[in-house]
Assembly symmetry: C2
Homo-oligomer: 351 residues x 2
């Protein structure tokens, strides 16, 4: 198959820094959209994959699944886009489109395996897919998203992963005006959760271990801040939340948060893909409480999220970096030293 | 307040065997129904309370919350019942009737505290309530249930706790014809779960560690038996269940059961009111899976359950015992040596 060459940054082994490399992209097929990448967000998953933390990385790893760019070429059957459109690509670039999950617009749970934006088997070229730390990418039109032109394109990049990851559970569990909603953890995910819950009309409570995050949480849209280490505050809020979005990215004791839920209310985990602490069965039984997980969102819901961001002028708070500074940015993500997401300006790679 | 004396069996301390004692019941008030107790089921909770396992027992403990009897006297404002009616009393005898939970027919979660059938503060006589190991009881008409006359009254006793505990989650989570439903654990709760799920039209899979329970599970209505220690069988059933009812009464590793759930499916815990093992966040996230708890059911739903039992001729499999043999029966419950519930014939106490 004919290919075009692109500059990219990738890691050749699990111990290497990211470095400049050249990758192949497929030529534009009938249903493909070729995108000139403007910006790409840095997600903590990128670092996990580069470092093989999940034991499934294939090298070289070219990460990046928060891609913003302009359409530069269209396949003959592409109807949804035209040249120059501002578009996005998130965590997925394909799925089987034929299974129960795909029929329900839940491509992230494709029974036959969604094609993720990087480190997934590449159906076209063989090998595995390469992500957005690159000058360009070619994607099936069904996995390309429209970015509202009225929002800042740089701050839009993290919407493609951090945004949909937090919007989807708030939307799926029907958070609405007047609901008391807790967001646990103020990082890349949590700050988006606060913005979305606020825009949905909820009474938003930032739940954090760090009193020094209170001011920023309120700036982002939290109406209250609950310090989870303060037993008295936690008791005062017991059994009062309609919904809790838990963005903590590591294993932790979830029982104190279950205690905050109302009868029949749900806490959804979106961060911790690892073992949590022991869960107290009685805490769930005494109130018919629920704990669930949620993974990004389907393509249809991702477009709904972007349209919602257009209506409410929501973007991520970002710090721009050049491609050449990505290794330092990775260290700062690991140290939680960013408010709240890094976005790579891909102009730096083109020059 | 005027009282009447009743014979009962109770424990005077947390180390004592149950023994014959005399207790007071209130005189019949305007909204009260006085019941001559025919049968009372033995629930594992009775044993926990007698032995103060939950550190909240008040002595003497007269247990029993699976009560079947005949109406012998009615208050002036009682309209729902007449003398001679076959009635039941379950785990609750009163609630505030005024809170959000009570307004939703979820008296078991009464914000101001439901009055449980035993070991709850007694609003009428002071002290605490006494359960059904007794010749009679007087209960507010709103907490009295009609027992269908076509079902065996002895086998009906455990419906008031084991029955509603398993019916309620199956009903609330809308189990329906064709659903693949797992019941984890074949004991007093599990055997009712199998009967209900079968009657609701589900494809019922008994999930058990014990291959020797397979035959009985099928007799009770299971269509398949899945041995949870068999990795190959567990893998074959991965991601296939619409709903799982987990009746295991002690802490255990729930992750293998979460793996059995379909996308968006729920497992409900009804047995383990204690710490479970560590729960893997990734198992919930990869499939938007849910784990919840459920506690008995409200009075309205308990009546629905009893009416359902009347329609489908469902009762518990019981072994009858005399009141004088209760201490031995307790030991056999602890040893899981009963198929599947003991019911006390209260005639033995009257003689």
């Amino acid at each position: 198959m004919k290919t075009t060459k692109h500059k990219a940054y990738g890691a050749s082994t699990n111990t290497a820094d990211l470095e400049l490399m050249e990758i192949d992209r497929r030529e534009v097929g009938a249903n493909d959209v070729k995108i000139d990448i403007l910006y790409c967000g840095i997600c903590h998953s990128d670092i996990h994959q580069v470092r093989n933390d999940w034991k499934n990385s294939k090298y070289p790893v070219v990460p990046g699944h928060e891609i913003i760019g302009r359409v530069v070429e269209l396949g003959s059957e592409v109807t949804k886009y035209k040249q120059g459109d501002l578009v996005g690509v998130g965590c997925m670039v394909d799925s089987c489109k034929n299974c129960d999950s795909c029929h329900q617009d839940l491509e992230q749970f494709c029974i036959n395996g969604a094609t993720f934006t990087y480190n997934s088997p590449d159906k076209h070229l063989g090998g595995h897919t390469f992500g957005g730390y690159s000058t360009g990418v070619t994607v099936n039109q069904d996995f390309v998203l429209k970015i509202p032109e009225n929002i800042d394109a740089r701050g839009a990049a993290p919407l493609l992963c951090a945004g949909i990851t937090t919007f989807s559970p708030l939307n799926h569990w029907n958070v609405k005006k007047g609901d008391k909603v807790g967001i646990v953890g103020l990082g890349g995910l949590g700050h988006m959760g606060v913005k979305f819950a606020n825009a949905m009309g909820a009474h938003v409570v930032m739940i954090t271990t760090s009193p020094n995050k209170a001011e920023d949480a309120k700036r982002l849209g939290a109406h209250e801040v609950l310090i989870s280490k303060d037993q008295e505050q936690m008791s005062a809020h017991a059994n009062s939340f309609d919904f809790i979005l838990n963005t903590v990215p590591v294993g932790h004791d979830i029982n104190p948060y279950v205690n905050l839920l109302k009868i029949d209310a749900t806490m959804v985990l979106v961060g911790a893909v690892e073992p949590l602490g022991s869960v107290n069965g009685g805490g769930l039984i005494m109130g018919r409480k629920r704990v669930a997980g949620s993974l990004i969102g389907g393509i249809k819901e991702t477009q709904e999220m972007l349209d919602f961001c257009g209506e409410h002028n929501i973007t991520s708070d970002v710090e721009m970096v050049n491609m050449q500074d990505v290794n330092n940015a990775f260290e700062r993500v690991v140290a939680a030293d960013v408010k709240y997401r890094f976005v790579i300006d891909m102009e730096s790679l083109k020059n």
